[in-house]
Symmetry: D2
Subunit: 349 residues, 4 copies
């Protein structure tokens, strides 16, 4: 591991969650890549709503943070060292890092649904540390080289683009489709862009936040509906599919009611509740399948292609940049700044 | 329409619903087959739970009976006359009659989902009359000839076999699968048989009725669970798919919780409620798709094959035969006879 | 049929094929729309390679022209009269006419594959007359209204757009895919555009005609390969799917060899031979499915959406306009004018 | 690895191919299971046609044997030792061993198509040694425990059952289907059984060998056709799918011609030729997809279920048992004994 020499004596800087609402930047040893891994010098890390939720509440559902813990899983950087036996990206390669570390041998891994691996380890999902740091290691096979046309921020945001591309595939979005999306947060906004890239010709986004609806209209939506003023069922034509990105139970029901016969309803958004009420009589009469998604699998390469080709621009939702020392401010931006959508932490800035 | 001559002067006998809980057998003119139709001399008509519900309540959801109305849609008989231009089954052919009359030209008809046709006419579904009668007409293309190995009763029950075969296909049952079925009524019982015919090697049926569970065990289930005594989650191994055939909201939730990662939950059973509560957090974490089914499409031929080959025997659930004049008793059998599962009306007996 | 009054006394003008290579414009009675049909005043008719082949050879495979016969099946116009019982497009509506008239009741019609209907009647396919005429009738349900953003020429070319959109769906083109297309004729050129609209980020078109490759590069291809100079296997990266649009047997083999593991090869192009040689050892080792397509089904509405939204512009391949009296010149343009790609006949010009 | 102590000092016996047509039984060290592996005491090994071909010709296509080489990949036995970190089957467990060792991290592995892994290692496929031996090691995750209802021979033959079950899934065999199978060798015979287990109600097997056709009729086929006497197109009704198991180019063509519209043709059999001629005009007119299969993925568990439940009995094709020292005779049985179908080597007999 010759290349590590250049790192000798260097320290990693890591933004560590010390408790609910508490964050501190610490020096730690630069991690050493194990066989099959690469060491990545982190360039950009996106702040995800789940990071914010973990930071504010210490948990999401059954996932509980045991501090000290490191958040951050939307990550891009540059390969600076290799573990043994790595045929992956070369030293110096710019990479988008898929946060997944599935076991690779269980039933769901083998059938291609590795996102459901019961032994999955995933950046920032307890107990695995995340990427608000100057250096992280990653499996070489999950470090995807990106071309120059993909900026560091865009490379970090390949992660949420993957979430929505995977959902779009599970939804079976087809060229010429009409798609309804509930929620104009980062996921809903990117979903609109990706739906367009998949050929949807009508993409309707609903929310109650006028500013976000305006951003949706600028970045991919053909129509927006302010559901604080209008019920979607009244404003929206029958759609081929509905994609729930808001986590709002009412949005789930009203969205499904807009789906036409033989259509689909996909659920990305997570509600705080364990159960959901769905309009089953309508679903039965129209045979609307309900398709929940969990993270993603097998889409990082295609997501990079879409961004590299310009079909999707995830940086359109970036609203601020923060140093590693400002990670806490980045995590609080959603509360303090009404214009914040997607903050980015740049550990070397 | 030469063959009609033999019917000249003959009258049809029809069991007519005159109001909620009121039935009377009447003489009516023998219907004349229109172009593309055949006239069927009815041999057997199964009594479906929906017939019973219409009879007792006058409605199911938004479907309201306007008496006089004729119930009955599980129907088999013999072709006795042709309308013009009929290349369908010959005079004398024994047929299972698919009750569907879709428009054939709308979007869903064209994509092969004709069961969702908004202009569907279906035996016994208001306002279209059903088949508790000596003669009915049907589109020649929906009158499927059956071989001698399929009895009249079995031919009538091709309809509920089609319901479950269609559900089995939408579920994606595969050879070697473990399938959980909630409800040991006619649909659940036939679902168990068809799941076995599709290659499922473990078929677990739940109910609270010990007699019906015993029948399930005799006719297809490899395991039964009395859910008045045991929670299915405690008794059942993880299954590849769950199929709800009971209409019971609690069964829906507990059944979904038994499904393993990347599995499916299919809903045939109709609850009186418009909405249903589903365990969304579990569905998301495991990506369990929820697949509602409505009647069926494109399976009558395969259902006949399964019955003709002996792989499925729907007569195993027949519990009584009734004359046309006894149709009301047949409709009340479920209330009056605890052993009743599937009564059959034989209009010429 | 009140609206017909305005046509009283008017004559239809029809370009009639009187024999191989013989065409004459004749007056015929304006056809009367039957129940369920509309009468269309034809605005634009595209010339398809199959029209040219019928005109020059009198046959394609087993389909033999019995003159007098009318060619032309890429047709758009305006509804000017209704038969009885028509809930379709209103009088005055501009429509793209799907040339299909399937039976609607056979097995393949019912499963949604009506393009395979053994009783299909299709504009210009013997013995059914086509649309090089001022008026044609069509089933109302196959006359699709188009918005103003779709020109008459574009509306006529919804037909070939449907051919390639259907092929793209059968291929399973996904956003981010790399697609190889053999042949830069009208179908290959439109296939490239539609592949892009479906999200393919790399679309490689091969041909031996430099002018057509240049047109491909202008209208959708990201890469072109002149296969008179370079073997595609040497020039092309591994692709997710290959789509044969040239009818050239050598192109089929070399194209399949460029497909990566688990990919697909789709065949639109028709060769004069009844059989084809395929690289089976490669197909087995990589499990490359071979997917032939025949016309299309269930895509006219989506094709219109793609054109209306600007995602696909079929008029980019239009190379000339001809009066009805010039139909023979339009059919010969491919031989006489090396720049000709897609001639359009305008019966009222 | 405590359990290994019992093996101290013991030697492995291995039947080693020393050259084309040369085999010698040798003593070798018992292999030591690496982390994640188990050591299996081999009970039964089936002789596959590919073993015979390697033995007789030293190669199959591009796969060339470099002697010394060990053949045999249909293998079952008992776990007698564990490598480190093995949560797989316990010591003493009876197992069917899937011969696959895919890399687990490449694109095709991740999408669930690990049979196409370019770095696949597979028992007996050069350069990896096979299982004609008393002991082999295997990844714990590919050693599938079998219940007592599965005999050692049956457990060994889970491998060819997996080949055909996988092909049946890729074919999309559905309950009620009519399936045509070319070739009544071990694969064709098992394909017939598995097609029945998947619910096919009509299974037609063709061959030129009357004895094998009789075996087909005894073990799963509903119909057999001796194609030395009758062309299949003349004897066979239109089928939903055709599965080529003979490797005979003529069978491929005639079989495809028996497939009905929208059907499928699957190719398991390997011909000595690199290319194959297919009836493309028919395939296009009927949209018959051509689906090649290569080994299998993700079916060992379901194959075990089918055998354990009695739905499939692979021992019905076993025609002889051989000691390890008789492996050469087992490999030559197909040439010397016209009744031989599937010889089994029992290394401890």
């Amino acid at each position: 591991m010759e290349s590590m020499r250049t790192l000798t004596g260097e320290q990693n800087l890591v933004a560590v969650m010390k408790g609910v609402g508490e964050l501190r930047v610490e020096e730690r040893a630069v991690p050493e890549p194990r066989p099959g891994e690469v060491l990545v010098e982190v360039a950009s890390v996106g702040v995800c709503g789940s990071d914010v939720h973990f930071f504010e509440h210490g948990r999401i559902g059954l996932d509980v943070v045991q501090p000290p813990h490191v958040l951050g899983h939307e990550v891009a950087g540059r390969v600076v060292a290799h573990g043994d036996l790595v045929p992956g990206p070369a030293i110096g390669a710019r990479v988008a890092v898929e946060p997944s570390r599935p076991c690779g041998t269980c039933r769901v891994c083998r059938i291609g649904r590795y996102n459901l691996c019961p032994d999955m380890r995933y950046f920032s999902a307890p107990p695995m540390d995340g990427a608000f740091a100057r250096y992280v290691t990653a499996p070489a096979s999950f470090a995807f080289e990106v071309p120059d046309s993909v900026s560091d921020d865009a490379a970090a945001l390949i992660e949420p683009v993957s979430v929505v591309l995977y959902a779009g595939r599970r939804t079976g979005i087809r060229a010429g489709d009409r798609i309804l999306i509930a929620g104009a947060g980062p996921i809903g906004l990117l979903m609109a862009q990706v739906a367009r890239a998949m050929g949807a010709t009508r993409v309707i986004v609903t929310d109650t936040n006028a500013r976000r609806l305006a951003l949706a209209a600028e970045t991919g939506a053909t129509d927006t509906v302010d559901v604080s003023k209008t019920r979607p069922q009244d404003a929206v034509p029958e759609v081929d599919a509905f994609i729930e990105c808001s986590g709002n139970p009412a949005a789930l029901t009203s969205g499904i009611e807009c789906v036409r016969r033989a259509g689909r309803a996909t659920v990305i958004g997570m509600s705080p509740e364990q159960t959901a009420e769905v309009p089953m009589a309508v679903m039965q009469a129209r045979e609307i399948d309900l398709v929940p998604t969990f993270r993603f699998a097998n889409v990082y390469d295609a997501a990079i292609e879409l961004v590299a080709s310009g079909a999707v621009d995830p940086t359109a939702i970036v609203t601020g940049h923060f140093k590693l020392e400002e990670t806490e401010r980045a995590l609080r931006a959603g509360r303090t700044d009404p214009t914040s959508v997607k903050p980015i932490v740049r550990p070397w800035a």
